[in-house]
Symmetry: C2
Subunit: 124 residues, 2 copies
């Protein structure tokens, strides 16, 4: 079930030109249905920090063993949040030996940022 979300987000990159922007035109229902889960995934303080730790990591990736001790939560809970980020298409996971490494998907982040971008001067 994690694959549909990732594929849907990837496909959306194809049928949208570049920067639709919330404020330029009404986002279609289909686009909203696809992108809302990504925002929802970022709508939790723990996941927002996890996303930031992954995106700002040196080398572009982080071991789960470095993420878990950063919170007062159990390992399974962190794993659950990482799964949510994964299913939202925001991150990728790769197992290398004993540890699992997470990596951000910059394209999706850029797409979400573009959607929220509004003109510097308020449109009259």
């Amino acid at each position: 079930m994690s694959k549909q979300a990732s594929l849907a987000l990837r496909d959306l990159g194809a049928d949208t030109p570049c920067c639709p922007s919330l404020a330029q035109q009404r986002v279609p229902a289909g686009t909203a249905t696809v992108l809302a889960p990504a925002f929802k995934a970022l709508g939790d303080p723990v996941r927002l920090q996890l996303m930031s730790m992954i995106a700002s990591a040196k080398g572009g990736e982080v071991c789960v063993c470095d993420l878990t001790p950063a919170f007062d939560l159990t390992g399974p809970t962190i794993s659950h949040h990482l799964k949510t980020l994964r299913e939202a298409g925001l991150v990728d996971a790769e197992r290398r030996g004993t540890w699992v490494y997470y990596r951000a998907r910059p394209a999706i982040l850029r797409q979400l940022a573009a959607l929220l971008t509004v003109e510097p001067t308020t449109a009259a």
Copy 2:
């Protein structure tokens, strides 16, 4: 209870320089706690479309009477979603005569966009 969220978001604009960006440094727990509700508010397809309709409205504002018929939902449900957007500090409401008009808060949108903005070239 809606005032705390708005004030918290406004305050955050003061103590943060301009564009912290997820990928430049780990977002502090406090910032995550304040901004996550804004992302959560956008994490629903209906609210994402409502936000878009409000932000893209001619004249910068929309009447609720124009928003409600755009969905297969009852009036109270739309009202509830608008309240969620209001409490997240994403929109402002103003009653003028019989109708209530909603207006976007560009500053908050810009802040969220800045947080998600990543470098065009992957940072090593």
